[in-house]
Symmetry: C2
Subunit: 472 residues, 2 copies
């Protein structure tokens, strides 16, 4: 690691590392060891200590610590890492923190770091590195590596090919168990996350897999063809990762082969990549539900944050304006009975809440492939629930209105508006996510805005419209 700017500020870095409680929460795992280390650092604050401390941390832990530091502090700590540790930490970082660190390093530093990566990890970083850095690093790799290793970066981010690893342990179908074991013994390197080896024939076509325990336990003369599992879940690089993740989850896979269109083994997917994918996509959908397009770095510049958030605010402001125009149509009615202005947000709000409950259930069922041809059945059920809720809450809200305003007609209008808005919310709660799904949009993101727009507008329209008809 180039020592460039670091030495002058090492005390600061040591102070930082102590300050952040992240370290302590990690320490829970190997509590005594880490606590000793921290105490040691407190006593003799010097660079050797810091480096030794950082060397003892897993790149995943380093990534977590870096994310919790401010941008300046991140670079300070990052520059204390060995090139290899720095490179592995880059791989573990979230996209936005990685981008911030890459932007802070100069070209030479970056090249020194990323040339320590293997081809799979380098390909994974491809999109986030400056083009010339990536080119230089991959040329250095090509010099001592097979030329086919670099194309995973060409697949779209949501395709299996993007997370495929090329480090595959494979054996041939015409071998015996002991021949396969002997060959494995002489290989220089068996990749991580290997629970099974892949069986290929002379043409490199995938024929099956053998679990390692089965290979160990096979009689030494047993033919691979006899002990392998021929019915294998495999993927092509073009398949969506979503489908692969579901298969891993459903069939409890640890690793699975990736084949090309003729069935040739070209790589594998491993469960660690799938777990990361599941976490990132559930993260992203939680953020998307609040209208954030990407994971925003906690310490992103204000301009970046504003830009990331404004499209959603603009959209919501539009729908709020339209709902507000619905009220505008009835200003005369409100002037005659100002209690309506007080009560109308309640009608809108209870509609939005019940509708969002329905949406949550429908989206979950869609994600789990549980909605066969049962849409009408589901709509009927949700309508029934809404009718029951509508009678109960409508009566309750009507009574409250009666207590507050001593007007039976107003109470009746309020009850009717709540009842009808709950029915509308139930229909919208089923129809909106299904409609978005059919239109190829992500229902988890958009459904709630559309629904709230419907229930707000209709809530205002129902209470004010009924009031105009029957009260004023």
């Amino acid at each position: 690691m180039p020592p460039s700017h670091a030495p002058a500020k090492r005390e600061e870095v040591l102070r930082l590392l102590k300050r952040h409680h992240v370290l302590e929460s990690l320490a829970e795992r190997q509590e005594n060891e880490r606590r000793d280390l921290l105490a040691q650092m407190q006593r003799r604050e010097n660079l050797v200590e810091l480096e030794r401390h950082l060397r003892g941390l897993h790149p995943a832990d380093l990534a977590s610590i870096l994310a919790s530091l401010s941008p300046d502090e991140r670079l300070l700590v990052f520059r204390q890492l060995t090139s290899q540790n720095a490179a592995l930490t880059l791989v573990e970082l979230t996209d936005e923190v990685r981008a911030a660190i890459v932007a802070g390093l100069d070209r030479r530093e970056l090249v020194t770091i990323v040339t320590t990566l293997d081809s799979d990890d380098l390909a994974y970083l491809a999109a986030d590195l400056p083009e010339d850095v990536y080119r230089e690093a991959s040329e250095a790799l090509l010099a001592h590596d097979a030329p086919f290793t670099l194309d995973t970066s060409l697949f779209p981010e949501t395709a299996v090919g993007r997370l495929m690893r090329r480090d595959v342990a494979c054996i041939r179908i015409d071998q015996t168990a002991s021949e396969a074991l002997t060959e494995m013994r002489s290989s220089t390197h068996v990749p991580e996350q290997t629970d099974r080896v892949f069986v290929i024939d002379a043409r490199h076509l995938l024929r099956g897999t053998v679990l390692l325990p089965d290979l160990i336990r096979a009689a030494s003369g047993a033919q691979i063809a006899d002990i392998m599992l021929a019915d294998v879940t495999s993927f092509t690089p073009e398949e969506p990762l979503e489908r692969a993740a579901k298969a891993f989850e459903r069939y409890d896979l640890v690793s699975a082969p990736v084949v090309d269109h003729v069935g040739k083994l070209i790589g594998r997917l491993t469960i660690d990549a799938m777990v990361d994918y599941l976490r990132v996509s559930s993260d992203q959908s939680a953020l998307a539900r609040a209208g954030l397009r990407g994971a925003e770095d906690l310490f992103a510049p204000v301009a970046v944050s504003v830009r990331n958030r404004w499209p959603w605010l603009a959209l919501n402001l539009c729908t709020a304006f339209i709902a507000s125009r619905v009220i505008g149509m009835f200003e005369e009615t409100i002037m005659q009975l100002v209690a309506l202005a007080t009560l109308m947000p309640i009608v809108a709000s209870i509609g939005g809440n019940t509708g969002n409950q329905t949406i949550a259930l429908v989206i979950r069922a869609m994600a789990l492939d549980q909605l066969g041809g049962t849409h009408m059945q589901l709509a009927r059920k949700e309508l029934t629930v809404a009718a029951v809720n509508g009678v109960a809450w409508g009566t309750f809200v009507g009574l409250m209105a009666l207590v507050l305003y001593h007007s039976a007609p107003l109470a009746a209008v309020m009850s009717a508006a709540v009842f009808l808005n709950l029915l509308i919310a139930a229909i919208a709660g089923v129809a909106v996510p299904l409609g978005l799904g059919w239109a190829g949009r992500d229902p988890a993101t958009g459904a709630s805005v559309v629904l709230t727009f419907v229930t707000d507008s209709m809530g205002f329209f129902l209470i004010l419209g009924l009031a105009r008809l029957f009260l004023v």
Copy 2:
């Protein structure tokens, strides 16, 4: 499987299986095979076909199909399964569907099915089975199994012990690699999801682990003590699953040992259980965010659905009523300037939306342990973003009000209310999730209700209060 009610309705079941597109989406995987089967079933609808078809499906697929069927249809299909397949399918089902099926079967059917399970799976189902069924099945197991196998059901649902498996492949630290391999070869059964074997000493204390590839590749005379990894991430049965899931994700584990308080090896956790746990908890938090306490079966009886949903609606109705009373305080002001009634929902709505964006980011940072001592830094940043947004959107909304109502003072009040409500939303967006976290509550569930309550009430209060001060 007892054929009880099934034969009479087999045509119906076959029709059902064809109708539900779930089958077709599963068929994507092994498309041709399944499509042939379906075609075959269409031609000669008979019980043999159905049984053969069902036998070809993985229990996880069966569970997914069952969830998409209505309650009657579920029992029809379930009763066609072999006892063993039925039992494994029960394990794979979601809690609510499992409960529905268990309720529909009689005692004898249940016992026949669940006695085919191994002790880990039986323990996993313990809470969902009638007590006498569980007792009978576990006594049957005890007759031919070790007596220590049944206590995982005693741990709380969120503890490591609950998902611990007892099927551990272990070797002794004083063995050589070839002795260990020979012993493994002679064992009757090597458990699933075995990527490593655990190393114990004579007192059954955990000393390390050996990855299977390393074991295979070790020189035959090598001592286990020399090739094992001594630095192992292990868990106790009392630890929270949340922490274990994070460790699996962070360190890319496939399996990890569980030890008791003195360090004795008592079981292991495997990645498949962690993946299920992650999925279920992200599922539950999505539902909880909409105010559903548990995953609700799509076809749950109306009474169950109403009961599941009402506490949330009651809570929201309370907050809506309080916000409505804020408006009630200003009815005189509204009578003098009815445009306020039209414009006030916009102020409330934009506050709610920006606040929820902040909440989403803060909750994510909390989940990833990224908030060290940086709360003030974060609050300052969010306030800056809110101020920028407040000036921009406040001006815009003010201009819209000017166009609609030709009143500069009204436009100014509107702008000021939006600006101030965005600042309040930013503070609440940081403070509410942190406060809930400190209070030991789940911020993902409650933060949004509290925030919306604040931004609604303050939105109404700001525009109406400013109007009373400056306009009327």
